[in-house]
């Protein structure tokens, strides 16, 4: 096995795993509060376009990431206004928000850059090798010569773990997702908590989209997120709503996505379209093998206050 092919594979695995990790870490917080945001895909595509346009306007990739986060947050705010504010069905609302996100980004992109889809030349998010760590044999370059957004994911996972499981704030958030009525009685503002948790998830999905545009593709294309928002939701299940495991699961999924590059580099003439389906098949297999042995937050996807039934 050529070592360069393996190194390229590991690098691509992490590069493709990072957007999944960022979106899934955000969604972990959202789901812990009792909200499942299927509109994550919409936040991610908005983040990709926001990232691209922000980077162009501000002339810096870092500015693009911030703009991407804002765009993802905005889309999540629309979702939260309906699903948390009005208490509409979370699945239908999320589907609508994804549909709207894909439509609006497509329309804005066509209006701004023309329908032909000329490739944009964006300020890209360049790899930032960390001295020392990036020289670790085998995995050093793959893990520590990545775009800064990767380091954000590495740092966010333990930080969120600590926040969720070791602070009163995290306890209140988790209680909201388990026993909303009891939490409210104990003085937690359930809807406000869920609203903020959803916004955080949207902002992280926006950063994930910006990473796709600025660190991976170097351009924006319509529908470029290609279902990664939905895969991220499966990653949350696989990671058992625990940020550390979510990060690990996301990197594994990045490996599945990168497998096609690896096989091409080895010169194997395999139909790559079938390998494109690998992350989705892996998600299905993971859900089949995992659900039943893990427990979702008890109040996940249930509107609160309960419709028609008081609190």
């Amino acid at each position: 096995m050529p070592e360069s092919a393996l190194a390229a594979f590991l690098e691509a695995a992490v590069r493709l795993g990072v957007p999944l990790a960022l979106a899934a870490l955000g969604e972990t917080v959202t789901e812990r509060s009792g909200v499942i945001n299927i509109g994550l895909e919409g936040s991610m595509i908005a983040g990709a376009l926001g990232g691209a346009m922000g980077a162009l306007a501000l002339g810096s990739a870092g500015g693009g990431v911030v703009a991407g986060a804002a765009a993802g947050l905005f889309v999540a705010a629309v979702f939260a206004a309906f699903a948390v504010g009005l208490g509409t069905d979370q699945i239908i609302t999320g589907t609508a928000v994804t549909l709207g996100g894909l439509g609006v980004t497509g329309a804005v992109y066509q209006a701004r850059f023309g329908a032909t889809g000329t490739a944009l030349s964006l300020p890209t998010l360049a790899p930032l090798p960390i001295p020392g760590l990036s020289e670790i044999p085998w995995v050093g370059r793959a893990l520590f010569a990545q775009a800064p957004t990767a380091y954000l994911a590495y740092l966010l996972a333990p930080a969120l773990w600590w926040l969720l499981f070791r602070t009163g704030w995290g306890l209140a958030l988790r209680a909201t997702g388990e026993e909303p009525s009891a939490s409210e009685a104990a003085g937690v503002r359930v809807r406000w908590t869920r609203f903020l948790a959803t916004l955080f998830g949207g902002a992280m999905a926006g950063v994930a989209g910006a990473h796709l545009a600025l660190a991976h593709a170097g351009t924006f294309a319509e529908n470029m997120t290609a279902g990664r928002g939905f895969v991220a939701i499966a990653v949350v299940v696989l990671g058992r709503w625990n940020p550390i495991w979510v990060l690990i699961a996301a990197l594994l999924f990045g490996g599945a996505s990168a497998l096609q590059f690896f096989l091409q580099a080895l010169g194997l003439d395999l139909p790559y379209q079938l390998f494109l389906a690998l992350p989705y098949l892996l998600s299905l297999a993971a859900l089949a093998g995992w659900v039943g042995r893990v427990r979702a937050p008890a109040a996940l996807a249930l509107p609160w206050p309960r419709p028609g039934g008081g609190a």
Binding site: Q110, F230, L284
Partner: protein, 359 residues
Amino acid sequence: MPEPGRARFVPLAVPAAALMVTALAAVAGLWAGGYDVGRAAGALVSGAFGSREAFLSVTLVRSVPLILTGLAVAVAFRAGVWNIGAEGQLYAGAIAATWVGLRGGSLPAGVLVPAVLGAAALAGAAWAFVPALMKLSLGVGEVITTILMNFVAIDLTAYAVRGPLQEARRVFPQTDPIAEVARLPTLPGVRLHLGFAVAVALALALWGVLKWTRAGFAIRAVGASPEAARVSGRIDASRVTWAAFLSSGALAGLAGGVQVAGVTWALYEGLSPGWGYTAIAVALLAGLHPGGVLLAGVLFGALEGGAGAMQRSAGIPAAWVSAVEALAILSVLAVDQARRRVRPAKRTATRSLGEVGDA
């Protein structure tokens, strides 16, 4: 995972109000984007309804896959099955229909056309079988699994048109045209094909099934309250879920088959501009009623048909249609929610049971 659906019919006032909200928001969006709203509306209407040709060759032709996938979503949601996978089931149906249509050229049309459409329906049901099995035997919620299956079907299509089903010259990522005897007959001089009649007949049939048959009652009962249906002891809820899931997949698969046999005569990537998702807007606007799906399907067919004219004459990107569809879904949800606040319902369980009877 979501609570099984409180799916039920909504009074006509809800879709009417939702449509008005959607139209207002869409106009506001166009105005804010600096487009000429009057010109856009004119182009939309004339592009969709302006002539016999526009209505029969554009609007109604585009409504066929929307009606069929809309019915697929409606039957699933009525039974409390969150099938977001109509898009993938449609592609599975399109692949199967293309395969049969390419191979069966020696058969008479009277055999081949039903075989093409039957294969499409079967393939759609087979695609729905995976998430149905995962739901019923492993307890995996169907929302994410049906969505994931969409992407698998799209990748499978990409593989089919570059691999086993690629056209003979092996240049373009598409199949050869299917045999002429496999194609659906059209009305003289326009593109409206037999698929429209199939869609209308299925909508009416489904309406009858839901309203008058025992199976329809079981679907409505399980959708309203699986717990109550189970406790009653007279309805096998898991059998109903299976039936609704598979017939939903079959309807969506048929949409793909009808599109290939009636319009494109070949399979290629991007065959569907997301009809499986638009179908959710169609079904919700229809209040999950098969008759309503017919109307909403034609309405969205007009929107998609007119969007082309809007792009040409007012420069409005065609992707705008998806945004309007999303607006329609959100409007239905918001209006329905507002209605409940104005007239607070009784407790959930009684309300659901009370509504099992009406259709």
